[in-house]
Amino acid sequence: MSAPLLRVRGLTKHFPLRGGLLGRTRAWVRAVDGVSFDVNAGETLGIVGESGCGKSTLARLLLRLVDPDAGTVTFEGEDVLRASPSRMKRLRRDLQLVFQDPYASLNPRLPIEDAVAFSLLVHGTPRGEARERARALLGRVGLDPRMHGRRYAHELSGGQRQRVNIARALVLDPRLLVLDEPVSALDKSVQAQVLNLLQDLKAERALTYVLISHDLNVIEYVSDRVLVMYLGEVVETGSAEALAQSPRHPYTQALFASAPSMDPDRRMEQPPIAGDPPNPIDPPSGCRFRTRCPFAMPRCAEASPPFVPVDAGHEVACYLYEMEPAARG
């Protein structure tokens, strides 16, 4: 088993909340707290969680749009977070990001082929060649460059804009693509098209994806492995099938049970989980999910549970499973 393409260890980011007369820091938003995971070449890692769990911050940390307070991100053995500006520029060719908001992520003053070509221009490609490659890529993502090339962002639909975003991310021939809620802002019918496009592109170009979403259907559809986040921490990781069939962490179970189904036999009277996600400013001590967990025990409040393997490649951070190895004998 070759080394993982991307290694993340102990990534932490706290945002200060300023207040008071002199703007002193009153509290910290613990957006991402000690997140660790690996991404293997060629796979799609899905990161799922509700709003406020730190997914978008994580995406920005991975791409070094935001500097972390602690932790490392290693790409092919190279430390991303401490790379020099020239090394960083080189690394930017390999690591790209597709943004969530198709409306705010395109410069309204640039024709879309220029928006895509800009990345190449930054890295020294001559103007004519950059435009050619941009147009070719637009064609590949489903936008005929002869018809749409000189169009402006406001003339395109949400789905079309997202295709432009994808083209922009791919024009530098990256190895790893982080996609932050790539289809959340689109209509359902368009979502499927864009997801299929992403699958095709991944196969064609031997890409690796880290796809972040709050929508379980999307995660299940494209992911090989899944990582579940809650309030800045990872609570469970495993293959997509394993998590779908036997989710272990109470939060994961609630998530999968919450996905609305069209099947009348799967109706339930009570929602599987109660309450709103608590504030990341002052998370509960110990296991952060304990305030909403139906199985909470006294020790859950003491310290954060460590990761425990429950199956091959399937880990949970929950005290419920600490007994299992012993129970299994």
């Binding site: 930017r92 790209q96 943004f99 705010a104 992520s105 395109l106 410069n107 309204p108 928006a115």
Partner: protein, 299 residues
């Protein structure tokens, strides 16, 4: 009040979107071309500017030459269609020549403020917290003065003359432009296409040049255009107080001052320079209104 009366969106011709894809600036031009009021204002302004520019050829008399015998002649006097002033100088000639002074004194400070203010404002919005605080707090100090007062304070200290007027008015308008520029920059900076440019590996300079400027200069330009009329009124006002252009030069504000005492003798002639200021100021205002409407991003 009829229900939903105020809620109906005004379907102005200006709000329309052209059918074929056009670049943003061409859309602006297209919209301006369909706005009759703005076109009329633009036309009027063109006439005024041309008249001022061509003053040496259009003016029938030397603006400083006058004979006391002919003083305060009423408009319509043969040979002096707009009358003469208190020293017998031809009003038409003085208005034409005066236009050059007033327009220069009015436009130049705004142009200077646009360039300097944009640079400072974009730097304050984009570079970092320390730079931002430094620039914005300095501007706040100038904001402590009402514009008229600041212009008078600086002019009062520097003394009269066209150059000093330009300096003092530039100082009045720069803080205003900086505020608008900083605000627009901060707003654009948070948008995701700027983050996308950073992810592509672009440095600060490339981002400013390719992504920021195009999106920020628009609102700044609209704001600057609204300040021109005030600049003209202030410039003429300074001359009116004896702080701007000095006699015997012709300048509309100065003319208003010297003619003031003569209103008991001839009521019409003293009104003319002010009318010129008013017309020019109004044309600029209508033009800037049209520009602002045309530049609103739709869709």
């Amino acid at each position: 009040m009829a229900p939903l009366a105020g809620v109906e969106a005004a379907t102005d011709a200006v709000a329309a979107v052209p059918a074929a894809p056009m670049s943003y600036w061409r859309t602006v031009g297209w919209r301006l071309g369909r706005d009759r009021t703005t076109l009329a204002a633009g036309g009027g302004l063109l006439v005024i500017v041309l008249a001022a520019l061509l003053a040496p050829w259009l003016a029938p008399y030397d603006p400083s030459a006058g004979s006391i015998r002919l003083r305060l002649a009423w408009p319509g006097t043969p040979g002096h269609w707009l009358g003469t002033d208190e020293q017998g100088r031809d009003m038409l000639s003085r208005l034409l020549w005066g236009g050059r002074m007033t327009l220069v004194a009015g436009l130049t400070p705004v142009l200077v403020a646009f360039v300097v203010g944009s640079a400072l404002g974009i730097a304050a919005g984009f570079v970092g917290r320390t730079t931002s605080t430094l620039i914005m707090r300095t501007m706040d100090i100038f904001y402590a003065f009402p514009s008229v007062l600041l212009a008078i304070a600086i002019s009062g200290a520097l003394g009269p003359g066209l150059a000093n007027t330009l300096i003092s008015l530039s100082i009045v308008f720069i803080p205003r432009v900086v505020r608008v520029a900083e605000s627009a920059t901060v707003q654009v900076k948070g948008l995701e296409y700027i983050a996308a440019a950073r992810v592509s590996g672009a440095g600060m300079g490339a981002i400013v040049r390719h992504h920021l400027l195009a999106n920020v200069l628009g609102p700044i330009l609209v704001f600057a255009s609204t300040q021109v009329s005030l600049s003209i009124i202030l410039a003429a006002g300074l001359s009116f107080l004896g702080l701007g252009v000095t006699p015997p030069a012709a300048e509309w504000g100065l003319m208003l001052n010297t003619l003031r005492q003569s209103i008991y003798v001839n009521a019409l002639v003293p009104a003319l320079p002010g009318l010129a200021i008013f017309a020019t100021s109004m044309a600029f205002n209508l033009l800037s209104d049209g520009l602002r409407d045309a530049m609103e991003v739709r869709g």
